[in-house]
Amino acid sequence: MPTPSPKHPIVVQLLEAPFEPLELLAAWQRSLGAAGTAAESHFIGRVRPTTASGEPLEALELEHYPGMSEAQLRALAGACAARHGAGAVLVAHRVGRIAPGEAIVLVAVQADRRGPALRCVQELLEDLKHHAPFWKREWSGGSGTWVAGNTPL
């Protein structure tokens, strides 16, 4: 993990192998100190078992723009934390081939109050869906299809 800045410590992780969200959260909490802040909110997104057209999904492939993706996630997280007056932010995102049921994204935010923590998780999730260079391809029946748009909120 990179050294967090004291004001808005932002941790970004791009992961090529399956990860256990609760284990990442535990390590993140430990890195921030024993006594947590008053409010902490998380979101875990997992790969659905079917494609957008309802076929059984073999795997989701996540292409990204190495270098720019980390920088963008970090910039989006820092801006979101600053806008909402939140504290620490963790963003973990899988890349490569991901099996149905596996976690693809984890967002966690600590703040002094529940409002900033909840709002920052929600907004950052929308931000990274639209402004971080990631592209999804669904594999089904041996062929891959690029996903045209994001799932509805």
Binding site: H64, M68, A132, P133, F134, W135
Partner: protein
């Protein structure tokens, strides 16, 4: 904005991703710009990744394609400098 004379080796690195990369058949190339003060939009027309419609000589950058220069989002009319990394990004589907 002062015009900067193009060096003799007026070359940029072009990167394509996802569906765009597959349609083109390549993901990364060094490209010598046709003109000295080209923008990302000019570069797109030069690349001619899509077939031009009848009666037209080039295809403009579609509004759905975003541009990144040196790994930061940029507008399509940003002038390119030699050595820039120019990426054309199809619609993003992350998260």
């Amino acid at each position: 904005m002062g015009h900067q004379a193009a060096p003799p080796d007026n070359q940029v690195r072009v990167r394509l991703f996802a569906a765009l990369r597959e349609q083109a058949g390549w993901g990364e190339r060094e490209i010598r710009l046709d003109t000295g003060s080209a923008s990302a939009a000019d570069l797109w027309r030069q690349l001619a990744l899509e077939a031009a419609p009848p009666g037209s000589t080039a295809v403009d950058l579609p509004p759905t394609i975003r541009v990144a220069i040196n790994q930061a989002f940029a507008t399509a009319d940003t002038p390119l400098r030699p050595g820039d990394e120019v990426a054309f990004l199809p619609p993003i589907t992350g998260g």
